[in-house]
């Protein structure tokens, strides 16, 4: 245990920069704004690196009440999430430099973008559920301006829908925390749970219900059925980079919440074999299938990707719900992989909108001739998401399936992998036609009629880096997996 204020830097720095961008009237010109935002992003990323490499691991900020400190602690899961968040958010920010040129109110966008950066890092570092809840609510509030950025009526309604769904979910969680508070000695995250058997005294059914509420509550952010529909509304309305990080990172915060709840508050042993586990697995599998089907039928590119997120996040939740070490490793791998892949895909969709203004899938014929580099990245990412061998998606899904088969959950241990496989086929079904149409538009398109519209370097660079990481993950999985296995207990 190493109490150190260094832990606060990645949280406070971006919030300060974001606040300054929002409040200081001096930052007027675009270059000044970009300088400030860029400095904020890079300094934050560096400080995250310093924290991850350093040995500081706890910091108590203040006491809400005597027994409820707001404090931060860095553990394996926290390190993993912090690293992914810091990287993807930084790349999304770089992409925004170019993308936001054609949007109004850039100042507001970058201000809130930076503030949310700090808040999600705080989520990763949170040491107890109260701190987590606090920043979870703040994340919801401060990310709403990103969603409704365009300010049109539809965007505002989408923002409101996002806000209400999130608040509903957060309230279910709070509801759970109230009860949990009564049955445990502490609310700090401890591997294996914090429940006190003496205090429970035969109230297990009640506590199981509490656990279910909390999973459902965090499941809202993670897009789990039945409260998933905000995703498909919010993503198409948000600006490109915002929907990328929304799908890549913010949704993962719900996953982090579920991990913390299940493994660190209630403990896997408490839930194993209970009705909660059964219902939870059923919900995740249903979401996996339903998300893929909805994506398959959807014609709007960003909406299709949003439904794909619904489905893919439930892969992760499925891996968590079977309560098996291997499956959890797979889930964590998929967290990383999906963050890179889905972020890159949304950035591609944003670049297409930005350069050509096309939003529907059937308008994308021949886009591969116009934006070849970007479309190659799109292709590689699609392959990674489907799970074609050398890419990261294959490794994560492999672990997920093996873990599910290994676990002793009746019926679902074999039904799960089957659903995953079917869904992978559907994923191929909704992504690959885009790719083939993009490169082989068909006879009616003259090969010479396409002009080069390749995206700016600022846009292209993050996409290329994310794609490279997604592919490399599969190759380097031997190095990553041991780390994850220790994190997954």
């Amino acid at each position: 245990m190493n109490e150190s204020v260094i832990l606060m830097f990645p949280i406070v720095l971006p919030v300060l920069f974001g606040g300054a961008i929002l409040c200081v009237p001096r930052i007027r010109s675009r270059s000044a704004l970009l300088c400030a935002a860029g400095a904020g992003l890079i300094l934050t990323a560096l400080s995250v690196l310093a924290v991850l490499l350093g040995n500081a691991d706890t910091y108590t900020l203040f006491y809400l009440t005597k027994s409820l400190p707001v404090y931060f602690r860095l553990d394996g899961i926290g390190r993993l999430f912090a690293a992914v968040m810091a990287l993807v958010w930084l790349l999304g920010g770089v992409y925004s430099f170019s993308y936001m040129k054609h949007e109004k109110e850039e100042k507001r966008y970058f201000g809130f973008y930076l503030i949310v950066y700090g808040i999600i890092l705080a989520l990763a570092f949170s040491g107890n559920i109260i701190t987590f809840y606090l920043f979870y609510e703040l994340m919801t509030l401060f990310s709403v301006p990103l969603v409704l950025h365009k300010g049109t009526r539809e965007a505002v309604m989408a923002g409101l829908k996002y806000l209400l769904y999130s608040l509903c979910g957060a309230y279910l969680v709070l509801f759970g925390i109230y009860f949990l508070f009564r049955f445990s000695n502490t609310l700090s995250f401890t591997w294996g749970g914090v429940l006190n058997q003496e205090l429970i005294g035969g109230r297990e059914p009640f506590l199981l219900f509490t656990a279910f509420l909390m999973i459902l509550g965090f499941g809202v952010k993670a897009g789990m059925f039945p409260l998933h529909s905000w995703l498909a509304t919010a993503h198409p309305e948000a600006p490109g980079p915002a929907s990328a990080v929304l799908s890549g990172i913010i949704v993962k915060c719900g996953v982090l919440g579920v991990i913390r709840t299940v493994y660190y508050l209630f403990g896997a042993e408490f839930l194993r074999g209970s009705w909660v586990q059964t219902v939870w697995i059923a919900l995740t599998l249903f979401t996996v299938f339903m998300g893929s089907m909805l994506a398959y039928r959807e014609k709007l590119l960003k909406k299709r990707l949003a439904y794909s997120t619904v489905s893919q996040i439930s892969y992760i939740l499925f891996g968590l719900s079977v309560l098996d070490g291997t499956a959890m490793t797979g889930a964590l791998l998929h967290v990383i992989c999906h963050a890179f892949v889905k972020c890159a895909l949304f950035l591609c969709a944003g670049a297409i909108i930005c350069k050509t203004g096309r939003t529907r899938v059937d308008e994308l014929k021949g886009i591969g001739k116009e934006m070849p580099v970007m479309m190659w990245c799109f292709t590689l990412c699609s392959l990674a998401l489907i799970g074609i061998p050398p890419t990261g998606g294959f490794v994560s899904k492999w672990y997920l399936a093996v873990g599910a088969l290994k676990s002793a959950v009746p019926v679902f241990s074999w039904l799960g992998p089957v659903v995953l496989l079917v869904s992978a086929l559907l994923t191929a079904g909704y992504l690959l036609p885009i790719v083939s149409d993009a490169f082989f538009p068909g006879a009616e398109y003259e090969s010479g009629s396409f002009e080069k519209k390749e995206a700016d370097p600022y846009m292209l660079l993050p996409i290329v880096i994310l794609t490279a990481l997604a592919v490399a993950m599969g190759v380097l999985s031997a190095q990553i997996v041991p780390f994850l296995q220790t994190a997954a207990g």
Partner: protein, 497 residues
């Protein structure tokens, strides 16, 4: 007895007499007298708080030359001193925030009258907080009612006159019930001082003779105070009274006047009947049910309302419901939560009223929800104030509202029978709150297309800006550093018993 013990008496008397002085002063001078009185009473209350916190016991102050069973008494403990300090702070900020509006809406010649009324309100609130005598409490309840009625009707339009009449009628019904309750209690026990009554009540219960009249008395007094503090379904007068009076009146009425009655009720529960007697009667369940109903119906009415100020007024109905629910839970934590909510809601609701007036001023004085597009850009400080107030009401962490909800939930967990209704209604009401408050926050931050309303620069309204900023700080402090306040309430309640 230390000199500090004179403070409760001095502060009541100071505010009462400054009211009289204001009647002969011109408006400007009355304004200064008013500010000086509120500030000095606030400082004195702070000193008293420090003193009582040091001795850790309450003291009784004899008024006049007659000792306990006959004479009149004042009693002060940590909770009383803290409440007095807090009420002074809120009142000062309400006056600052509404000053410009007051100048616009009320005739110049009536300004000094307004300050008389405010001083009277302060004095009666202090008396309600400090008094140890039930009949004195009744007299000051009436003074409070009359002054509050004046605050409503000082802006003379048809709506406020009607609202004032309706307010008076409901208040008179309430105080009539309170009065007959006090008389019956006097009949039963032969005392008017709270501590003596409590002994007599204990004796009555021991002998088991007059238990039914005692419960009826309790019911009469509780109902009377509940009507006066606008508990659902006695809230019909409230939306117009809060919605159309001048803004500092609305803020003071919603955050202080109704809270004064609730504080008196809590005092009666603890100091007159004793908490256990109250807890064993069925009245507590009735309060609980009405509190829950208020939480839901107040929020539903607020959602339907398109007039922004009436919307906030209806939200007050819901918040009063929270307080009564906490009292109805019948646990000590519930009572602490209720008192914390009195404080938190006062800070949040006063801020909302003050902020809303800035927003409507920046939208061509339109009160309609639909004209507020982008108002937060035209009056920045009001926008921030409204957002903070709304977040506090919804119960987002870091703000006062979250802590009180946390305390309510903790209290509910300790009472197994009422656990599920409390939790479900808390959840539903929070979602309803979120719907109408967040809807408004998003609307005021949606940039308006081709608006003709002018931007109100901060420089023009310095005092207003200061008031809003201080309110924001107060709300965040209450949300982040709740432990000292909760400790204060807890030790104050221990001194009550």
């Amino acid at each position: 007895m230390d000199f500090v013990c004179n403070i409760p008496f001095i502060s009541i008397l100071l505010s009462l007499f400054s009211g009289t002085i204001c009647s002969v002063l011109p408006g400007r001078a009355a304004k200064w007298v008013n500010t000086a009185v509120i500030v000095s009473v606030g400082i004195m209350s702070a000193i008293l708080l420090v003193y009582v916190n040091g001795t850790q016991e309450s003291f009784v102050y004899m008024m006049g030359h007659f000792p306990a069973p006959w004479g009149n008494e004042i009693r002060a403990g940590v909770l009383e001193a803290g409440m007095a300090l807090f009420f002074c702070m809120i009142m000062l900020l309400c006056m600052w925030g509404g000053r410009k509006k007051l100048d616009e809406e009320v005739e110049e010649s009536k300004h000094n009258l307004y300050y008389i009324l405010v001083n009277l309100i302060l004095s009666s609130l202090l008396a309600l907080i400090y008094t140890n005598d039930l009949f004195t409490a009744y007299v000051f309840v009436e003074i409070n009612t009359i002054a509050a009625c004046g605050l409503i009707m000082i802006r003379q339009i048809g709506r406020t006159l009607e609202a004032a009449v309706r307010y008076m009628i409901m208040s008179l019904v309430g105080s009539g019930l309170l009065l007959i309750g006090i008389c019956m209690l006097y009949d039963l026990t032969g005392h008017l001082l709270m501590s003596n009554i409590q002994e007599a009540v204990a004796q009555i219960l021991e002998e088991g003779t007059y238990t039914v009249p005692l419960v009826i008395t309790m019911a009469l007094m509780v109902t009377g105070l509940a009507i006066k503090s606008a508990l659902f379904p006695f809230h019909a007068w409230l939306p117009d009274a809060y919605g159309y009076s001048t803004i500092s009146s609305a803020a003071i009425l919603s955050s202080l006047v109704s809270k004064g009655y609730i504080f008196l009720l809590i005092k009666i529960i603890y100091r007159v009947f004793g908490f256990s007697v109250f807890h064993d009667s069925h009245i507590i369940n009735v309060l609980f049910v009405f509190g829950l109903a208020a939480m839901i119906f107040g929020s539903l009415s607020a959602i339907k309302e398109s007039d922004i100020r009436r919307m906030i007024a209806f939200s007050s109905v819901a918040q009063i419901g929270y307080i009564y629910m906490g009292i109805g839970l019948g646990t000590k934590v519930g009572m602490i939560a209720s008192i914390y909510h009195i404080i938190g809601h006062a800070a949040g609701k006063a801020l909302l009223f003050i902020a809303v007036i800035g927003l409507t001023d920046a939208s061509g004085f339109s009160r309609s929800f639909f004209d507020l597009d982008g108002a937060a850009y035209r009056n920045k400080i009001a926008g921030i104030g409204f957002t903070v107030g709304a977040l506090s009401m919804v119960g987002v962490p870091m703000f006062a509202g979250f802590v009180s909800k946390l305390l309510f939930a903790q209290a509910a967990v300790n009472n197994v029978g009422k656990l599920m209704p409390t939790m479900i209604v808390l959840a539903v009401s929070t979602i309803l709150n979120a719907i109408y408050f967040m809807k408004t926050v998003i609307r005021i931050y949606t940039p308006a297309e081709n608006t003709e309303f002018a931007v109100i620069p901060l420089k023009r309204e310095k005092l207003y800006g200061v008031a809003v900023v201080l309110f924001v700080i107060l709300n965040i402090t209450l949300g982040m550093l709740s432990q000292p306040v909760v400790d204060m309430i807890r030790s104050g309640l221990e001194m009550f018993a």
